[in-house]
Amino acid sequence: MTIYIALIPAIPLLGFLVLALFGSTLNRKVVGYIGAGSVGLAALLTFIAGAHFIKSLPLVRSYSVVLWEWINAGNLKADISFSLDSLSLVFCFVITFVGFLIHVYSIEFMANDEGFSRFFAYMNLFVGSMLILVMADNILLLYLGWEGVGLCSYLLIGFWYKKPENGYAARKAFIITRIGDTAMIIGIFILFLSFGTLNINELMQQVSVKWTAGSSIAVLTAALLLGGALGKSAQLPLQTWLPDAMAGPSPVSALIHAATMVTAGVYLIARTHVLFSLAPIVMTAIAVIGALTLLISGFSALTQHDLKRILAYSTISQIGYMFLALGIGAWSAAVFHFMIHAFFKALLFLAAGIVILVLNEEHDIFRMGGLRKKLPAVFWTFLIGSASLSALPLITAGFYSKDQILWYAFSSESGNSLLWIAGIIGAFLTALYSFRMVFIVFFGETKTNPSFMPGKQMTVPIIILAVLSVVGGFVELPASIGNIHLFSNLVGNTLPPAVVRETGHSEIMLMSFSAIIVLAGIYLAYMAYLRKPDLSESFNHSRINKFFEKGWGFDTLYDTLVVKPVVWLSGIDKNDVFDWMNIGIARLTLLANNLLSITQNGKLRWYLMSFTIGIVLILTYMICR
């Protein structure tokens, strides 16, 4: 049985191989079947493995299988081995299932693109690498998957490579995540040097035994791993790449930059939570970074014109919530929010993709409008997705997941009311910008007409995701409402529960307060953007609007602090020693050529003279000997 879990990452990778080698010769239909089918098969296997796993709880905590020995050099041993425990199971389920829906959607979305088979090859490679990442048994294999998803992100952001801006966006994403990756690999080095093993379970055991809480080495290692997570998950200060990554096609944004790759940081921290628990300073830092990020990107999302950029900033904000939960020790709440967020964010990106496609690549929301009657299926699903994003009380899954985080932010042992206030303000902003989006795009008068209606392959996935965005939350209801803890029970096998302290307020009170805030945000959006648009007009043209829109100036900050000095330095260093040597050799050869070609001036008498001189020299030499 356990060998089958190794098939879960293997089948998408096999799909990648087939499509990469033969994709250009295959028929489009076959390519679609292979591309979507491989991920679908992996999803099926995940279901089967998950059912087995859940049945055999709590006796068996994890399945693991060692495939073959990868590296064996002295002390350094690393195998290709996978293990499936409840944390990996949740992530695998999301990756494969949501991934399958997105692949089916892409069959119709990319139907007229010339790089059809290349797209599916890259997507399969991405799914394979992400599965390696979440199922890896040792940290080096995890890093392999980490780098693999970074590579696929670069390839897919710059998919339409003929436009140079897409290439720049892809490079920006890769370089910024590289900064995080470097920090992470240094952290891995420290772990290996201290303990001599790369297996994650062994590392976590040794860490809890040998390192004391708060010791500088634990803080250092945790901070370095956090650096890697910040890069991949686009949190402060490495968040500038995600809005520009919207240059890729919408399915890419849905899969990579909403549901899966950006949550790799969350996975990493959850997986190595033992280490992080030993460094309380780093945990506080995670929570503060999460809170700040969700506020900053929430304000930025309020001012964007491009539909996909709003969703990008929204993603950064929601991952901020997940980091906030991780920072205060609410591990399962973070993973729960990850799952629900994957559903509604993928839904929103796919629906936005349909809107952009049928309006002939129109991205500006102020040129859309009135699509409620024209695209009914898209409208209803988008509405459900936005409601889930805003955490509309009681009927959407987003409410349950976000509320759990807010509750823990207030009441957990390392929680703080300041963090809770930040979360509440963030919830208000979320409701405000998401319904701003809904009202501007779908209500009002139509400025651009749709040129065609989307087909079944695009509408069925978003309907499925809309259903999940509503019912997905019902697996985890808080104690005061339904007291269903299916999810946290499952995840609790791997992650410890959050410790709650006694506060003067009950959960119901906090829940109702956040519900009121959300409704207030929706009402404000309704008034400012639909009924009396002039209320928002003055804000739209203010200076602070521009500041928020440019992402709080982070891009210009990095440009002046880092980019310009590096470019200046490399300009100075352009003619370094090695260059000089290479050019010197070339110049020397040219010089010799010029000198020697003087002897070939084509004149007959010159040649005769050289004969004579030669004869004289030879004869003189021979006589004088």
């Binding site: 007959l604 008498r605 004579t612």
Partner: protein, 102 residues
């Protein structure tokens, strides 16, 4: 019977050869260069006859006959080439034919 020392004979042929060489190096007109080459050929043949006479073998004279044949052919073809050059370049300056260079 000739009793001039053999060194003087060969020296005489050598001086003739060197005069031809000087003429070849100095003159620019192609007809003159060809003429100098003829002088050199002739002196080489003279050396052969001298050697054949000294060693009392007929091979020297035979060699001279062959040199004569070769000289004749060479002159004929060289003059034909000079005719072509003159018709193309309208001059007999050997420095004018310097296109085969870098």
């Amino acid at each position: 019977m000739l009793t001039v020392p053999i060194e003087i004979q060969i020296l005489f042929a050598g001086i003739l050869f060197l005069i031809g060489l000087v003429g070849l190096l100095v003159r620019r007109n192609m007809i003159f260069m060809l003429m100098s080459i003829e002088i050199m050929f002739n002196s080489a043949g003279l050396v052969f006859i001298i050697a054949g006479n000294h060693l009392k073998q007929p091979d020297g004279q035979v060699m001279f006959i062959f040199i004569l044949a070769v000289t004749a052919v060479e002159v004929a073809i060289a003059l034909a080439l000079i005719l072509q050059v003159y018709h193309h370049y309208k001059t007999l300056d050997s420095d004018a034919i310097n296109k085969l260079k870098d």
